[in-house]
Amino acid sequence: MSLDYLWQITGPMLEGAKTTVLLFFLAIITSIPLGFVFTLMVRSHVKPIAWFANGYIYVLRGTPLLLQMLFICFGLPVIPVIGEYLVMDRFAAAALAFTLNYAAYFAEIFRGGLLAIDKGQYEAAQVLGLGRWHTMTRIVLPQMFRIALPAVSNESITLVKDTALLYAVAVPELLHFAQTAVNRDFTIVPFIVAGVIYLFMTLLLTLLFKALERKFKFE
């Protein structure tokens, strides 16, 4: 096996990795804010809002992401009458499924972060005269993000690996090109190269989150 061969198979895989990275960023940028919205909804005093959010989280966490992806990609378009309006680009459908699914996980992570904040923090803010908005943005959220950081780190590493599910809706990404090369050349090497590329991406994330945790240590 030559370096030339390695280079020849790595090229398309890196090309595919662009799709992986694109999906990762789309999903993380949209699901974190959406997840926080669900966190707030779960805590809402308006019962139907809390019920809806709880039901949402239950369904999205309780069914496989793969099912959700197939549901949006191939299920919605076959619904009678309205189905034809629900046809989406397969990548867009997958990205939507990722966002909706990860938002449910982030909602639970943030909820845990809020629960970990001592009641005394709210009381101190109140006696200092801070209103609800300032208490939330200046006291609660910074602490919640700090507490949630390790779990968010964990979740985003899982997200990198979950992007391989694109394979199931035939959107060419990193794993797709590895599989193609394995079939074509009858060698295990492309799988190993794919693994190394995934490891590299998760390593970058790990380092990033470690740096964030150090920065927000508050010591």
């Binding site: 101190a124 109140q126 200092l128 005269g129 200046r138 602490q143 700090r146 508050f218």
Partner: protein, 247 residues
């Protein structure tokens, strides 16, 4: 004239009546120590004054204004305006862990925009100096001892220029050797004529600094008097029994 006037205050948590019929009058510049067994309602009374608990009945008057009158509260803006005249110091400090000592002091005044940044900065420096922690201005609360944290918390409360300071067992979470530095700051405030209501287990402080000591048990004041009288010659059996246990 009384700056705090509490009349027939009542508070229940579910079926438990925590404050039965509490009345208290505090004069300007007076230091009142509230003592009594755990669960007697001392903290609940104090927390009601800061609107951390909502009373079920009775009145709390601060100066001319009613925080609650016969169990009825005014609009929230009014409540905020009245409670802003009081500062509170908690048993567990409740410093903001994600902010430096200086930012703990400056956050609220900056957000409420009552003063310029320069004024806020000079005030925070003065107050940190006063509690002996100017050198810790850039430290985070996690790097401070309990006594230092409580002194920061007192300075933070003073940033809002309160007319009244409420202390909820300010030394109960501290190691015994660290209570002195906090009591020293409180003693100094008393000398500067700050009006203070102090819920405390620190009998030494009550004896030495308070103008008046009030003994509470089972949601009511049982007895009150000067420190000399309360510690030297308590009249009520329950006061005697309590003091015998703690002294």
């Amino acid at each position: 004239m009384a700056i705090i006037e509490i009349t027939n205050l009542k508070k229940s948590f579910g079926d438990t009546e925590v404050l039965k019929n509490v009345s208290l009058s505090v004069e300007q510049s007076e230091v009142v120590a509230v003592i009594g067994p755990s669960g007697s309602g001392k903290s609940t009374m104090l927390r009601s004054m800061a609107y951390l608990e909502e009373a079920n009945g009775g009145s709390i008057q601060i100066g001319e204004e009613y925080l609650v009158k016969d169990g009825k509260y005014p609009a929230s803006a009014k409540i905020k305006q009245i409670t802003s005249r009081m500062g509170m110091v908690f048993q567990h400090f409740n410093l903001f862990p994600h902010l430096s000592v200086r930012d703990n002091l400056e956050l609220a005044p900056k957000l409420l925009k009552q003063f310029s940044s320069a004024e806020i900065r000079s005030k925070s420096s003065d107050l940190l100096n006063k509690v002996g922690l100017l050198d810790k201005a850039d430290a985070y609360p996690s790097n401070l001892s309990g006594g230092q944290k409580q002194r920061v918390a007192i300075a933070r409360a003073l940033m809002m220029s309160p007319e009244i300071l409420l202390f909820d067992e300010p030394t109960s979470a501290l190691d015994p050797e660290l209570t002195g530095e906090v009591l020293q700051v409180m003693r100094q405030l008393a000398e500067e004529q700050m009006t203070m209501v102090v819920v405390t287990h620190e009998m030494g402080f009550a004896k030495e600094v308070a103008d008046r000591v009030m003994f509470m048990a089972d949601g009511e004041f049982i007895e009150s008097g000067s420190p000399e009288q309360m510690f030297g010659n308590p009249r009520h059996e329950r006061t005697k029994a309590f003091l015998n246990r703690v002294l």
